[in-house]
Protein backbone atom coordinates (compact mmCIF):
# COMPACT_ATOMS: atom_id res chain seq x y z
CA UNK A 1 0.00 0.00 0.00
CA UNK A 2 2.14 2.85 -1.18
CA UNK A 3 -0.55 5.48 -0.53
CA UNK A 4 -0.84 4.62 3.16
CA UNK A 5 2.53 6.01 4.07
CA UNK A 6 1.99 9.67 3.19
CA UNK A 7 -1.41 9.63 4.87
CA UNK A 8 0.01 8.31 8.17
CA UNK A 9 2.73 10.86 7.90
CA UNK A 10 0.12 13.50 7.45
CA UNK A 11 -1.79 12.21 10.48
CA UNK A 12 1.29 12.07 12.63
CA UNK A 13 2.11 15.55 11.52
CA UNK A 14 -1.36 16.77 12.32
CA UNK A 15 -1.31 15.07 15.72
CA UNK A 16 1.99 16.65 16.48
CA UNK A 17 0.63 20.01 15.49
CA UNK A 18 -2.50 19.48 17.61
CA UNK A 19 -0.34 18.48 20.55
CA UNK A 20 1.80 21.56 20.09
CA UNK A 21 -1.28 23.76 19.94
CA UNK A 22 -2.63 22.24 23.11
CA UNK A 23 0.66 22.71 24.90
CA UNK A 24 0.65 26.30 23.77
CA UNK A 25 -2.89 26.77 25.09
CA UNK A 26 -1.92 25.25 28.43
CA UNK A 27 1.10 27.48 28.52
CA UNK A 28 -1.27 30.37 27.91
CA UNK A 29 -2.91 29.59 31.25
CA UNK A 30 0.26 30.85 32.94
CA UNK A 31 0.16 34.17 31.13
CA UNK A 32 -2.07 36.21 33.50
CA UNK A 33 0.14 35.30 36.48
CA UNK A 34 3.27 35.86 34.40
CA UNK A 35 2.05 39.25 33.30
CA UNK A 36 1.39 40.33 36.88
CA UNK A 37 4.83 39.21 38.03
CA UNK A 38 6.45 40.85 35.01
CA UNK A 39 4.83 44.25 35.56
CA UNK A 40 5.19 44.36 39.33
CA UNK A 41 8.45 42.46 39.91
CA UNK A 42 10.59 41.98 36.79
CA UNK A 43 10.26 45.40 35.12
CA UNK A 44 10.93 47.45 38.28
CA UNK A 45 13.76 45.09 39.26
CA UNK A 46 15.45 45.66 35.91
CA UNK A 47 14.83 49.38 36.13
CA UNK A 48 16.20 49.66 39.67
CA UNK A 49 19.22 47.60 38.64
CA UNK A 50 19.85 50.16 35.90
CA UNK A 51 19.29 53.08 38.29
CA UNK A 52 21.91 51.76 40.68
CA UNK A 53 24.50 52.56 38.00
CA UNK A 54 23.26 56.13 37.47
CA UNK A 55 24.88 58.80 39.62
CA UNK A 56 23.49 62.08 40.98
CA UNK A 57 24.53 63.86 37.77
CA UNK A 58 22.31 61.53 35.74
CA UNK A 59 25.14 59.83 33.89
CA UNK A 60 26.40 56.26 34.05
CA UNK A 61 28.69 55.85 37.02
CA UNK A 62 29.63 53.55 39.84
CA UNK A 63 29.31 56.25 42.50
CA UNK A 64 26.45 54.49 44.32
CA UNK A 65 28.65 51.46 44.84
CA UNK A 66 31.74 53.58 45.45
CA UNK A 67 29.87 55.34 48.27
CA UNK A 68 29.11 52.01 49.90
CA UNK A 69 32.82 51.20 49.92
CA UNK A 70 33.95 54.66 51.04
CA UNK A 71 31.36 55.32 53.73
CA UNK A 72 31.96 53.05 56.69
CA UNK A 73 28.31 53.50 57.79
CA UNK A 74 27.28 51.13 54.98
CA UNK A 75 29.79 48.50 56.05
CA UNK A 76 28.34 48.78 59.59
CA UNK A 77 24.80 48.28 58.27
CA UNK A 78 25.74 45.20 56.28
CA UNK A 79 27.78 43.74 59.09
CA UNK A 80 24.93 44.27 61.57
CA UNK A 81 22.40 42.72 59.15
CA UNK A 82 24.51 39.58 58.68
CA UNK A 83 25.17 39.43 62.43
CA UNK A 84 21.48 39.71 63.31
CA UNK A 85 20.53 37.11 60.68
CA UNK A 86 23.23 34.76 61.96
CA UNK A 87 22.30 35.16 65.64
CA UNK A 88 18.58 34.76 64.92
CA UNK A 89 19.29 31.57 62.96
CA UNK A 90 21.44 30.27 65.82
CA UNK A 91 18.70 30.93 68.42
CA UNK A 92 16.14 29.25 66.15
CA UNK A 93 18.33 26.15 65.76
CA UNK A 94 19.06 25.90 69.50
CA UNK A 95 15.38 26.28 70.46
CA UNK A 96 13.75 24.74 67.38
CA UNK A 97 15.73 21.53 66.90
CA UNK A 98 14.98 20.16 70.41
CA UNK A 99 11.32 21.15 70.03
CA UNK A 100 11.05 19.42 66.64
CA UNK A 101 12.78 16.36 68.12
CA UNK A 102 10.37 16.34 71.05
CA UNK A 103 7.38 16.64 68.70
CA UNK A 104 8.65 13.77 66.55
CA UNK A 105 8.99 11.52 69.62
CA UNK A 106 5.58 11.83 71.25
CA UNK A 107 2.40 10.03 70.10
CA UNK A 108 0.75 11.62 67.05
CA UNK A 109 -2.34 12.72 68.99
CA UNK A 110 -0.32 14.63 71.60
CA UNK A 111 1.94 16.01 68.87
CA UNK A 112 -1.06 17.43 67.02
CA UNK A 113 -2.09 19.34 70.16
CA UNK A 114 1.47 20.58 70.80
CA UNK A 115 1.66 21.60 67.14
CA UNK A 116 -0.89 24.34 67.91
CA UNK A 117 1.93 26.15 69.75
CA UNK A 118 3.87 26.23 66.48
CA UNK A 119 1.00 26.88 64.10
CA UNK A 120 -0.82 29.68 65.95
CA UNK A 121 2.19 32.01 65.80
CA UNK A 122 2.88 30.85 62.23
CA UNK A 123 -0.56 32.09 61.20
CA UNK A 124 -0.75 35.19 63.39
CA UNK A 125 0.16 38.54 61.83
CA UNK A 126 3.80 39.34 62.48
CA UNK A 127 2.81 42.90 63.30
CA UNK A 128 0.61 41.63 66.14
CA UNK A 129 3.40 39.40 67.43
CA UNK A 130 5.91 42.24 67.27
CA UNK A 131 3.46 44.45 69.16
CA UNK A 132 3.09 41.73 71.81
CA UNK A 133 6.85 41.74 72.38
CA UNK A 134 6.89 45.52 72.50
CA UNK A 135 4.49 45.56 75.44
CA UNK A 136 6.04 42.52 77.15
CA UNK A 137 9.54 43.99 77.06
CA UNK A 138 8.76 47.64 77.86
CA UNK A 139 10.09 49.33 81.00
CA UNK A 140 7.08 48.39 83.12
CA UNK A 141 6.16 45.36 81.04
CA UNK A 142 5.48 41.82 82.17
CA UNK A 143 9.06 40.57 81.80
CA UNK A 144 10.50 43.37 83.95
CA UNK A 145 7.71 42.94 86.52
CA UNK A 146 8.32 39.20 86.70
CA UNK A 147 12.09 39.53 86.93
CA UNK A 148 11.89 42.12 89.68
CA UNK A 149 9.10 40.25 91.46
CA UNK A 150 11.30 37.16 91.58
CA UNK A 151 14.22 39.26 92.76
CA UNK A 152 16.33 38.48 89.68
CA UNK A 153 17.07 42.17 89.13
CA UNK A 154 16.13 45.32 91.02
CA UNK A 155 15.98 48.13 88.46
CA UNK A 156 13.79 47.90 85.34
CA UNK A 157 16.07 46.69 82.54
CA UNK A 158 16.08 48.15 79.04
CA UNK A 159 14.86 45.11 77.14
CA UNK A 160 13.61 46.74 73.97
CA UNK A 161 14.92 49.32 71.47
CA UNK A 162 18.19 47.41 71.39
CA UNK A 163 19.82 44.36 69.84
CA UNK A 164 18.54 41.96 72.48
CA UNK A 165 14.88 42.91 72.03
CA UNK A 166 15.23 42.76 68.25
CA UNK A 167 16.74 39.26 68.45
CA UNK A 168 14.01 37.99 70.79
CA UNK A 169 11.26 39.27 68.50
CA UNK A 170 12.89 38.04 65.28
CA UNK A 171 13.58 34.59 66.74
CA UNK A 172 9.96 34.34 67.83
CA UNK A 173 8.75 35.21 64.33
CA UNK A 174 11.21 32.85 62.59
CA UNK A 175 11.04 29.82 64.89
CA UNK A 176 8.06 28.09 63.15
CA UNK A 177 9.91 28.35 59.82
CA UNK A 178 12.68 26.22 61.32
CA UNK A 179 10.55 23.81 63.37
CA UNK A 180 8.21 22.78 60.53
CA UNK A 181 10.83 21.51 58.01
CA UNK A 182 12.94 19.88 60.76
CA UNK A 183 9.87 18.12 62.14
CA UNK A 184 8.93 16.98 58.64
CA UNK A 185 12.41 15.52 58.05
CA UNK A 186 12.40 13.77 61.44
CA UNK A 187 8.98 12.21 60.87
CA UNK A 188 10.22 10.86 57.52
CA UNK A 189 13.11 8.93 59.13
CA UNK A 190 12.54 5.19 58.95
CA UNK A 191 12.52 3.78 62.51
CA UNK A 192 14.36 0.69 61.26
CA UNK A 193 17.63 2.62 60.86
CA UNK A 194 18.09 3.48 64.56
CA UNK A 195 16.96 -0.02 65.42
CA UNK A 196 19.52 -1.57 63.07
CA UNK A 197 22.26 0.60 64.58
CA UNK A 198 21.26 -0.39 68.11
CA UNK A 199 21.12 -4.03 67.07
CA UNK A 200 24.71 -3.73 65.89
CA UNK A 201 25.72 -2.49 69.30
CA UNK A 202 25.50 1.33 69.09
CA UNK A 203 24.74 3.11 72.36
CA UNK A 204 21.68 5.44 72.49
CA UNK A 205 23.98 8.45 72.15
CA UNK A 206 25.71 6.92 69.12
CA UNK A 207 22.36 6.05 67.56
CA UNK A 208 21.34 9.69 67.81
CA UNK A 209 24.63 11.27 66.74
CA UNK A 210 25.58 8.86 63.96
CA UNK A 211 22.18 7.82 62.56
CA UNK A 212 19.27 10.05 63.58
CA UNK A 213 20.99 13.44 63.48
CA UNK A 214 22.56 13.02 60.01
CA UNK A 215 19.20 11.86 58.63
CA UNK A 216 17.50 14.99 59.99
CA UNK A 217 20.08 17.32 58.43
CA UNK A 218 18.23 18.03 55.13
CA UNK A 219 15.32 19.47 57.12
CA UNK A 220 17.66 21.44 59.37
CA UNK A 221 19.54 22.92 56.38
CA UNK A 222 16.28 23.89 54.69
CA UNK A 223 15.00 25.56 57.87
CA UNK A 224 18.25 27.42 58.50
CA UNK A 225 18.38 28.65 54.92
CA UNK A 226 14.79 29.96 55.02
CA UNK A 227 15.35 31.71 58.36
CA UNK A 228 18.68 33.27 57.34
CA UNK A 229 17.41 34.55 54.00
CA UNK A 230 14.21 35.96 55.48
CA UNK A 231 16.23 37.69 58.21
CA UNK A 232 18.49 39.40 55.67
CA UNK A 233 15.55 41.34 54.23
CA UNK A 234 13.50 41.65 57.43
CA UNK A 235 11.98 45.10 57.94
CA UNK A 236 8.95 45.31 60.25
CA UNK A 237 10.15 43.64 63.44
CA UNK A 238 13.64 45.21 63.64
CA UNK A 239 12.14 48.61 62.73
CA UNK A 240 9.74 48.43 65.69
CA UNK A 241 11.76 46.53 68.31
CA UNK A 242 15.08 48.11 67.35
CA UNK A 243 13.66 51.54 68.13
CA UNK A 244 15.80 53.24 65.48
CA UNK A 245 19.02 51.95 67.02
CA UNK A 246 19.25 48.76 64.97
CA UNK A 247 19.67 49.88 61.36
CA UNK A 248 19.57 46.97 58.92
CA UNK A 249 19.93 46.99 55.12
CA UNK A 250 16.14 46.94 54.66
CA UNK A 251 15.84 50.12 56.72
CA UNK A 252 18.71 51.74 54.83
CA UNK A 253 16.76 51.14 51.62
CA UNK A 254 13.53 52.50 53.09
CA UNK A 255 15.13 55.70 54.44
CA UNK A 256 16.99 56.33 51.18
CA UNK A 257 13.64 56.35 49.40
CA UNK A 258 11.24 57.86 51.94
CA UNK A 259 13.57 60.45 53.43
CA UNK A 260 16.29 61.25 50.90
CA UNK A 261 14.47 60.19 47.70
CA UNK A 262 17.78 58.82 46.49
CA UNK A 263 16.78 56.00 44.13
CA UNK A 264 20.34 55.31 43.05
CA UNK A 265 21.61 54.71 46.59
CA UNK A 266 18.54 52.63 47.53
CA UNK A 267 18.87 50.56 44.34
CA UNK A 268 22.55 49.87 44.91
CA UNK A 269 21.79 48.65 48.45
CA UNK A 270 18.97 46.51 47.02
CA UNK A 271 21.23 45.03 44.34
CA UNK A 272 23.82 44.04 46.96
CA UNK A 273 21.12 42.59 49.27
CA UNK A 274 19.57 40.59 46.44
CA UNK A 275 23.02 39.49 45.23
CA UNK A 276 23.82 38.24 48.72
CA UNK A 277 20.53 36.30 48.82
CA UNK A 278 21.20 34.71 45.43
CA UNK A 279 24.76 33.84 46.41
CA UNK A 280 23.55 32.01 49.52
CA UNK A 281 20.86 30.17 47.53
CA UNK A 282 23.42 29.27 44.87
CA UNK A 283 25.79 27.91 47.49
CA UNK A 284 22.95 25.94 49.06
CA UNK A 285 21.90 24.51 45.69
CA UNK A 286 24.99 22.26 45.81
CA UNK A 287 23.69 20.43 48.86
CA UNK A 288 19.90 20.57 48.39
CA UNK A 289 17.00 21.18 46.01
CA UNK A 290 16.45 24.88 46.58
CA UNK A 291 13.27 25.21 44.50
CA UNK A 292 11.47 22.77 46.80
CA UNK A 293 12.76 24.38 49.97
CA UNK A 294 9.99 26.93 50.25
CA UNK A 295 7.28 24.29 49.76
CA UNK A 296 7.86 22.68 53.12
CA UNK A 297 6.52 25.31 55.47
CA UNK A 298 3.34 25.78 53.52
CA UNK A 299 2.53 22.13 53.03
CA UNK A 300 1.62 22.24 56.74
Amino acid sequence: MPSAEPSTELNADRLRRAAFKERLALFGLCSPALMLVTVIVVVPAAWLFWLSFVGQAGVLSLENYQRMLDNSAYATIFWLTVKVAFLTTAVCVLAGYPLAYFLSQIPAKVANVCMIAVLVPFWTSLLVRTYAWLILLQRHGLVNDLGMGLGLWHEPLTLVNNLGGTLVGMSHIMLPFLVLPVYGAMKAIDRDYPRAAAGLGASPVDVFLKVFFPLSLPGLFAGMLIVFIMCLGFYVTPAILGGGKIILVSMGIATNIQLFVNWGAASALGVVLFGLTLLILFGASFVMRVDQMFDRGHAQ
Binding site: R23, P32, A33, V39, V43, T124, W133, H172, V236
Partner: protein
Protein backbone atom coordinates in the same frame (compact mmCIF):
# COMPACT_ATOMS: atom_id res chain seq x y z
CA UNK B 1 5.54 7.36 87.32
CA UNK B 2 8.87 5.91 88.48
CA UNK B 3 8.52 2.98 86.12
CA UNK B 4 7.96 5.42 83.26
CA UNK B 5 10.96 7.53 84.30
CA UNK B 6 13.28 4.53 84.38
CA UNK B 7 11.99 2.98 81.17
CA UNK B 8 13.91 3.73 77.97
CA UNK B 9 11.99 6.10 75.66
CA UNK B 10 12.25 3.37 73.02
CA UNK B 11 14.43 0.31 72.54
CA UNK B 12 17.21 2.39 71.01
CA UNK B 13 17.03 5.38 73.36
CA UNK B 14 17.98 6.62 76.82
CA UNK B 15 15.43 6.54 79.67
CA UNK B 16 12.79 9.24 80.11
CA UNK B 17 14.54 10.31 83.31
CA UNK B 18 17.78 10.91 81.47
CA UNK B 19 16.06 13.20 79.01
CA UNK B 20 13.71 15.08 81.31
CA UNK B 21 15.69 18.20 80.28
CA UNK B 22 14.40 17.70 76.71
CA UNK B 23 10.78 17.74 77.88
CA UNK B 24 11.42 20.81 80.01
CA UNK B 25 13.20 22.63 77.17
CA UNK B 26 10.44 21.75 74.68
CA UNK B 27 7.79 23.01 77.10
CA UNK B 28 9.68 26.28 77.58
CA UNK B 29 10.05 26.79 73.81
CA UNK B 30 6.33 26.13 73.29
CA UNK B 31 5.55 28.65 76.03
CA UNK B 32 7.88 31.16 74.34
CA UNK B 33 6.03 30.59 71.06
CA UNK B 34 2.46 30.86 72.24
CA UNK B 35 2.43 33.04 75.38
CA UNK B 36 3.24 36.45 73.85
CA UNK B 37 0.40 36.17 71.36
CA UNK B 38 -2.14 35.03 73.93
CA UNK B 39 -1.21 37.62 76.55
CA UNK B 40 -2.37 40.41 74.26
CA UNK B 41 -5.96 39.14 74.55
CA UNK B 42 -6.56 39.81 78.30
CA UNK B 43 -4.58 43.05 78.06
CA UNK B 44 -6.97 44.38 75.42
CA UNK B 45 -9.80 44.27 77.98
CA UNK B 46 -7.88 46.43 80.44
CA UNK B 47 -9.47 49.63 81.76
CA UNK B 48 -6.16 51.42 82.10
CA UNK B 49 -4.11 53.42 79.59
CA UNK B 50 -1.08 51.42 80.64
CA UNK B 51 -1.00 47.91 79.34
CA UNK B 52 -0.66 45.75 82.41
CA UNK B 53 -0.97 42.06 83.07
CA UNK B 54 -3.15 40.98 84.71
CA UNK B 55 -5.34 44.08 84.19
CA UNK B 56 -6.55 45.67 87.43
CA UNK B 57 -9.83 46.84 85.94
CA UNK B 58 -11.73 45.38 83.04
CA UNK B 59 -13.46 47.36 80.31
CA UNK B 60 -14.29 47.48 76.64
CA UNK B 61 -12.85 51.00 76.28
CA UNK B 62 -10.27 50.09 73.67
CA UNK B 63 -12.76 48.17 71.59
CA UNK B 64 -15.09 51.17 71.68
CA UNK B 65 -12.15 53.36 70.63
CA UNK B 66 -11.60 51.13 67.65
CA UNK B 67 -15.21 50.74 66.52
CA UNK B 68 -15.99 54.44 67.05
CA UNK B 69 -13.01 55.68 65.06
CA UNK B 70 -13.83 56.45 61.41
CA UNK B 71 -10.12 56.17 60.49
CA UNK B 72 -9.72 52.67 61.93
CA UNK B 73 -13.02 51.54 60.40
CA UNK B 74 -12.04 52.92 56.99
CA UNK B 75 -8.66 51.16 57.18
CA UNK B 76 -10.29 47.88 58.22
CA UNK B 77 -12.68 48.08 55.31
CA UNK B 78 -9.80 48.72 52.88
CA UNK B 79 -7.88 45.73 54.29
CA UNK B 80 -10.89 43.42 54.04
CA UNK B 81 -11.68 44.56 50.49
CA UNK B 82 -8.05 44.15 49.40
CA UNK B 83 -7.81 40.72 51.03
CA UNK B 84 -11.02 39.51 49.40
CA UNK B 85 -10.07 40.75 45.92
CA UNK B 86 -6.52 39.41 46.30
CA UNK B 87 -7.97 36.04 47.24
CA UNK B 88 -10.03 36.00 44.02
CA UNK B 89 -7.28 37.26 41.71
CA UNK B 90 -4.43 35.19 43.17
CA UNK B 91 -6.42 31.96 43.41
CA UNK B 92 -7.67 32.21 39.83
CA UNK B 93 -4.44 33.33 38.13
CA UNK B 94 -2.25 31.18 40.40
CA UNK B 95 -4.54 28.17 39.99
CA UNK B 96 -4.52 28.56 36.20
CA UNK B 97 -0.73 28.77 36.22
CA UNK B 98 -0.42 25.72 38.50
CA UNK B 99 -2.65 23.72 36.14
CA UNK B 100 -0.84 24.94 33.03
CA UNK B 101 2.57 24.15 34.49
CA UNK B 102 1.48 20.70 35.65
CA UNK B 103 -0.01 19.68 32.28
CA UNK B 104 2.03 21.39 29.56
CA UNK B 105 5.29 19.55 29.40
CA UNK B 106 7.23 22.50 28.01
CA UNK B 107 10.89 22.71 28.90
CA UNK B 108 10.43 26.28 30.07
CA UNK B 109 8.00 25.20 32.80
CA UNK B 110 10.74 25.05 35.43
CA UNK B 111 11.88 28.57 34.65
CA UNK B 112 8.37 29.94 34.65
CA UNK B 113 7.76 28.24 38.00
CA UNK B 114 10.90 29.85 39.42
CA UNK B 115 9.85 33.23 38.08
CA UNK B 116 6.36 32.93 39.58
CA UNK B 117 7.60 31.91 43.04
CA UNK B 118 10.40 34.52 43.00
CA UNK B 119 8.31 37.00 45.08
CA UNK B 120 8.74 34.51 47.91
CA UNK B 121 12.54 34.58 47.67
CA UNK B 122 13.15 38.27 46.92
CA UNK B 123 13.09 40.35 50.13
CA UNK B 124 9.68 42.06 50.38
CA UNK B 125 11.32 45.44 50.93
CA UNK B 126 12.81 45.25 47.42
CA UNK B 127 9.46 44.21 45.92
CA UNK B 128 7.81 47.12 47.73
CA UNK B 129 10.35 49.66 46.46
CA UNK B 130 9.96 48.29 42.93
CA UNK B 131 6.18 48.38 43.08
CA UNK B 132 6.32 51.94 44.45
CA UNK B 133 8.49 52.95 41.51
CA UNK B 134 6.17 51.41 38.88
CA UNK B 135 3.04 52.72 40.61
CA UNK B 136 4.30 56.28 40.50
CA UNK B 137 4.54 55.94 36.71
CA UNK B 138 1.25 54.06 36.34
CA UNK B 139 -0.60 56.37 38.78
CA UNK B 140 -1.61 53.37 40.86
CA UNK B 141 -0.20 54.73 44.11
CA UNK B 142 -2.69 54.74 47.03
CA UNK B 143 -5.34 52.91 45.00
CA UNK B 144 -7.18 49.73 45.93
CA UNK B 145 -6.43 48.25 42.50
CA UNK B 146 -2.71 48.78 42.97
CA UNK B 147 -2.82 47.19 46.40
CA UNK B 148 -4.70 44.14 45.10
CA UNK B 149 -2.28 43.64 42.19
CA UNK B 150 0.78 43.87 44.45
CA UNK B 151 -0.69 41.57 47.10
CA UNK B 152 -1.67 39.07 44.40
CA UNK B 153 1.94 38.87 43.26
CA UNK B 154 2.87 37.97 46.86
CA UNK B 155 0.06 35.41 47.14
CA UNK B 156 0.54 33.64 43.78
CA UNK B 157 3.55 31.60 45.05
CA UNK B 158 1.42 30.22 47.90
CA UNK B 159 -1.35 29.26 45.48
CA UNK B 160 1.16 27.65 43.08
CA UNK B 161 2.63 25.53 45.88
CA UNK B 162 -0.65 24.41 47.45
CA UNK B 163 -2.62 23.82 44.24
CA UNK B 164 0.47 22.30 42.58
CA UNK B 165 0.71 19.77 45.44
CA UNK B 166 -3.00 18.99 45.01
CA UNK B 167 -2.58 18.42 41.27
CA UNK B 168 0.42 16.18 41.85
CA UNK B 169 -1.62 13.76 43.93
CA UNK B 170 -4.43 13.76 41.36
CA UNK B 171 -4.38 11.14 38.60
CA UNK B 172 -4.34 12.99 35.26
CA UNK B 173 -5.64 9.96 33.37
CA UNK B 174 -9.10 10.54 34.87
CA UNK B 175 -9.23 13.75 32.93
CA UNK B 176 -8.12 11.91 29.78
CA UNK B 177 -10.90 9.39 30.33
CA UNK B 178 -13.48 12.19 30.58
CA UNK B 179 -12.17 13.77 27.41
CA UNK B 180 -12.16 10.53 25.46
CA UNK B 181 -15.82 10.24 26.44
CA UNK B 182 -16.49 13.56 24.75
CA UNK B 183 -15.88 16.25 27.38
CA UNK B 184 -13.90 19.30 26.35
CA UNK B 185 -10.79 20.13 28.38
CA UNK B 186 -12.66 22.82 30.26
CA UNK B 187 -15.57 20.50 31.05
CA UNK B 188 -13.19 17.77 32.13
CA UNK B 189 -11.41 20.21 34.41
CA UNK B 190 -14.59 21.63 35.92
CA UNK B 191 -16.40 18.33 36.37
CA UNK B 192 -13.59 15.87 37.11
CA UNK B 193 -10.43 17.62 38.27
CA UNK B 194 -11.71 20.63 40.19
CA UNK B 195 -14.04 18.67 42.52
CA UNK B 196 -11.13 16.47 43.51
CA UNK B 197 -8.64 19.26 44.19
CA UNK B 198 -11.22 21.59 45.75
CA UNK B 199 -9.70 21.40 49.23
CA UNK B 200 -6.30 22.46 47.92
CA UNK B 201 -7.94 25.35 46.07
CA UNK B 202 -9.85 26.43 49.18
CA UNK B 203 -6.70 26.26 51.30
CA UNK B 204 -4.87 28.35 48.71
CA UNK B 205 -7.70 30.89 48.82
CA UNK B 206 -7.49 31.11 52.64
CA UNK B 207 -3.73 31.59 52.51
CA UNK B 208 -4.06 34.34 49.90
CA UNK B 209 -6.68 36.14 51.97
CA UNK B 210 -4.48 36.07 55.05
CA UNK B 211 -1.31 36.96 53.12
CA UNK B 212 -2.98 40.16 51.96
CA UNK B 213 -4.78 40.97 55.21
CA UNK B 214 -1.58 40.66 57.30
CA UNK B 215 0.80 42.24 54.80
CA UNK B 216 2.71 45.31 56.07
CA UNK B 217 5.77 46.29 54.01
CA UNK B 218 4.12 46.55 50.61
CA UNK B 219 1.25 48.52 52.19
CA UNK B 220 3.71 50.94 53.79
CA UNK B 221 5.01 51.92 50.37
CA UNK B 222 2.01 51.77 48.05
CA UNK B 223 -1.06 52.36 50.22
CA UNK B 224 -2.06 55.60 51.88
CA UNK B 225 -4.69 58.31 52.17
CA UNK B 226 -8.21 56.90 51.98
CA UNK B 227 -6.79 53.56 50.92
CA UNK B 228 -4.36 53.04 53.80
CA UNK B 229 -4.61 49.49 55.14
CA UNK B 230 -5.21 48.45 58.74
CA UNK B 231 -1.65 47.13 59.08
CA UNK B 232 -0.20 50.35 57.70
CA UNK B 233 -2.05 52.44 60.28
CA UNK B 234 -1.09 50.00 63.04
CA UNK B 235 2.59 50.26 62.06
CA UNK B 236 2.46 54.05 62.14
CA UNK B 237 0.69 54.03 65.52
CA UNK B 238 3.23 51.59 66.97
CA UNK B 239 6.18 53.76 66.10
CA UNK B 240 4.69 56.79 67.83
CA UNK B 241 3.31 55.44 71.10
CA UNK B 242 1.98 52.28 72.66
CA UNK B 243 -1.71 52.87 71.99
CA UNK B 244 -3.90 50.30 73.81
CA UNK B 245 -6.36 50.44 70.89
CA UNK B 246 -3.79 48.34 69.00
CA UNK B 247 -4.27 45.58 71.61
CA UNK B 248 -7.98 45.36 70.78
CA UNK B 249 -7.27 45.33 67.03
CA UNK B 250 -4.60 42.68 67.60
CA UNK B 251 -7.09 40.52 69.49
CA UNK B 252 -9.54 40.75 66.60
CA UNK B 253 -6.77 39.87 64.13
CA UNK B 254 -5.71 36.88 66.26
CA UNK B 255 -9.32 35.65 66.21
CA UNK B 256 -9.53 36.01 62.42
CA UNK B 257 -6.26 34.19 61.73
CA UNK B 258 -6.96 31.45 64.31
CA UNK B 259 -10.38 30.89 62.75
CA UNK B 260 -8.88 30.65 59.27
CA UNK B 261 -6.15 28.33 60.58
CA UNK B 262 -8.72 26.00 62.13
CA UNK B 263 -10.57 25.98 58.82
CA UNK B 264 -7.35 25.19 56.94
CA UNK B 265 -6.62 22.29 59.32
CA UNK B 266 -10.06 20.85 58.65
CA UNK B 267 -9.44 21.23 54.92
CA UNK B 268 -6.03 19.55 55.30
CA UNK B 269 -7.61 16.52 56.94
CA UNK B 270 -10.15 16.35 54.10
CA UNK B 271 -7.37 16.70 51.56
CA UNK B 272 -5.47 13.82 53.14
CA UNK B 273 -8.52 11.50 53.21
Amino acid sequence: MKAWLDAPASDTQITHKQRLWLYLLAALVMLFLIAPTLIVIPMSFSGSRFLEFPPRTWSLTWYRHYFDSPEWMQATLVSLKAAFLTMLLATVTGGMAAYGLARSKVRMARWIYLMLISPMIIPVILLAVGAFYVYVKLRLLNTLAGLVLAHSVLAIPLVLIVVGAGLKSFDASQEMAARSLGATRLEAFLMVTLPQIRFSVLTAALLSFLASFDEVVMALFISGGDNATLTRNMFDALRDQIDPTIASISTIMICISSGLMALAQVLRKRRAD
